[in-house]
Symmetry: C2
Subunit: 412 residues, 2 copies
């Protein structure tokens, strides 16, 4: 018999509690022994809930209980999750988490402590919900290196963008609808500003590089500026818009970003709709793999945590996935991309002449979405530095109002 | 220092040999110790090849060498691969394989021997080439059950079907082109008749159920009968055709099949083109995941083998993924599906009246692809048993020539 504790009885924590009980017979059969929940930590009370006999308001009841072998941390936030996780590891307990904030900031310290105390610190549930990402990635990294990561890592923004495209709807109304349906938080900024996807990308990159990647150094743009007109112009050439978290790794040069990007609606990431996530890894020898599934939600996330709990109990500890050394990220100035520039004009012919003066005439592709007073064109591929010069020049022109400058996604 | 041997110096075996040497520094760094190839078994000689100093024609040189801790079996076929694998396991060596034939037939015996001798028998490379499938599946099965498996598991047929669709080409000419390009074998029957996909489905199902699934009991249809006309009629409603290997698991009732099926061209499996593979698993709690990537090829497959070699050395043995107990498969009679029936006629109106007499008029959907003398319609969903009656009746009608009866894929 293995004993477990759950920290936090919110959406994910209650899912873990429920799943461990609901699938108890299956887990016992597959593991060879049952996993019994002994304690659940939450400051709140839940009168009448089946958690009541297990509930404690005091973390010491868990940390000091030598019988508890594995702890699921589903509190979220840095504190006190960091302190409790660290103390549980030092007390010889495996710790499993869905807390991407904590993993992206203190993952290295927690994994180092786990290795020192001969236990596991696992975090499959912190990226991609139900999708097995961290474990297959670690497996393949034993013998190969990753040269490219790209994914749709946030379900809320993907739901909003999918709805905007399908219903030709604006951002604000779609966000409100997503909030009403419980797909977006009351305070949605972590999702819509791209920070959630950015943290997940930082975790994946840290695993790929074996070094700490500071998420605050990854250039991140959100989706609040996307309009139905952007979708209309993108659609002309069979494209759609997705919030893409991506990185290119060329030796020690690592270039990463999170931004809404234009990509073919029929591409592998382009067809990923609603709250689904998907992430693609390109390896040296193994070509490219795509892992997809529901990226969030109570049971998908709880399922990933419970599988990690079983894995931790079944297997021994492992070497830390990354160290405290911080990986250097390249400045984005040298990155080459094609942009779709959408603008408003008063006189079409005059505005075109202006565009040609600023961006040249070669390899420039116009898109006609039939929207009155608006035009859009795709630039030739150019460095970020060059693009910044030219777009600033275009913005200074009196007859043109630049509305958006979305990058074309060039990866797999 | 860990010592390895490779059985078979064909496409995959030479890939393993090459990758272990090429990525030696990386593997040593990630594993904490190097993996050195000590012996490569092949009956042939390779004068001038870098394998020469390692080559042996005698399996005893490997089985009796106590220094060799891990063996990569890349011989293919049942014999002598089975004997060598079994003897290597009993000599206390981990064995890793890409041999789907051997795994689908003798997997249970080999895993039982591995557990007995406290070593691993791993076979990630036997399904989906580069795609991590077996390991994530085992991980998730610790705590959950699979209710549905569906995938494109054969790269050759997927390449052929993709080419047929894109170039409006016939089967025979496309197969010849695929053979010329090295994407199809000289004797392509294992691929095009669906047996390769069937074996892989049997392996996946065996893992899901924990019991041996006899691949010869899975109803299997190949793609040789598919014509460009089938694609034309499928395209009318935004569909395409893929060779789908699928199974539904409802408690102890398991229903599986391999057949070309009609599905939306924009669906998750519908967009998987060329030699790519993808497999979807539906779990009770975790919803659904999709794993995709290059399903075959020298380096993708070799990469999967090398990762398994590292995993075997790093981790201990595990309980067998399935036992010798044979899982019962349901008879397909009760399966409900919609079919697209394509036929030739001499008089259109008369043939329609005949179809309505045989299949009724309700919920029957006609497709018009503008092909002279041909028509197609989608039936309402009906049991296989009922369909068999009606289609036999239709085939007996003098004014109609039934050309194809493709099922509509109803899964995720």
């Amino acid at each position: 018999m293995a004993y477990a504790a759950v920290l936090g009885y919110g959406v994910v924590g209650s899912g873990v509690f429920g799943l461990l009980r609901q699938n108890a017979a299956l887990i016992e059969k597959r593991m060879g022994e049952p996993i019994a929940v002994k304690r659940v930590l939450d400051l709140r009370s839940f009168p009448g809930d089946s958690v009541e006999p297990f509930l404690t308001h005091d973390a010491e009841d868990i940390i000091n209980d030598a019988e508890i072998g594995v702890v699921a941390e589903a509190m979220g936030g840095l504190n006190p999750a960091y302190e409790y996780s660290m103390r549980a590891l030092r007390a010889g307990k495996h710790v499993v988490t869905s807390n991407k904030e904590l993993v992206s900031v203190h993952g290295a310290e927690l994994m180092a402590a786990a290795a020192e105390y001969n236990v596991c610190y696992l975090f499959e549930a912190s990226v991609g919900g139900a999708i097995p990402v961290i474990q297959p990635l670690k497996h393949m990294l034993l013998t190969e290196s990753v040269s490219q990561v790209a994914g749709i890592l946030n379900g809320t923004t993907n739901y909003i963008l999918t709805q905007m495209r399908e219903h030709d709807a604006g951002f604000a109304e779609t966000l409100k609808d997503a909030q009403d349906r419980g797909y977006a938080e009351r305070d949605p900024s972590a999702d819509i500003d791209g920070f959630d996807a950015c943290r997940k990308l930082a975790i994946l990159l840290s695993v790929c590089l074996g070094k700490y990647v500071n998420y605050s150094k990854i250039p991140t743009e959100g989706i609040a500026g996307i309009t139905s007109d952007d979708f209309a112009f993108a659609a002309v050439s069979g494209n759609t818009i997705k919030l893409i978290a991506r990185a290119d790794i060329k030796g020690s040069a690592v270039e990463a970003s999170v931004a809404p990007m234009i990509l073919s609606k029929d591409s592998r990431l382009g067809v990923v709709g609603d709250v689904y996530n998907a992430v693609s890894f390109t390896f040296d020898a193994k070509d490219n793999i795509l892992l997809g599934g529901r990226g969030a939600g109570k049971y998908p996330t709880a399922g990933a945590i419970v599988s990690d709990m079983a894995e931790a109990l079944r297997r021994g500890c492992e070497t830390p996935a990354w160290t405290r050394d911080e990986a250097a990220l390249s400045a984005p100035d040298e990155v080459i991309s094609t942009r779709m520039i959408r603008y408003t004009f008063t006189e079409q012919q005059k505005s075109r002449a202006t565009v040609h003066r600023v961006f040249g005439t070669e390899d420039l592709i116009w898109a006609n979405a039939g929207i009155l007073g608006q035009a859009a064109f795709f630039t030739r591929p150019m460095k970020e530095r060059e693009f910044a010069c030219r777009i600033n020049l275009l913005k200074s022109m009196p007859d043109i109002g630049v509305k958006s400058t979305l990058r074309l996604y060039a990866g797999r």
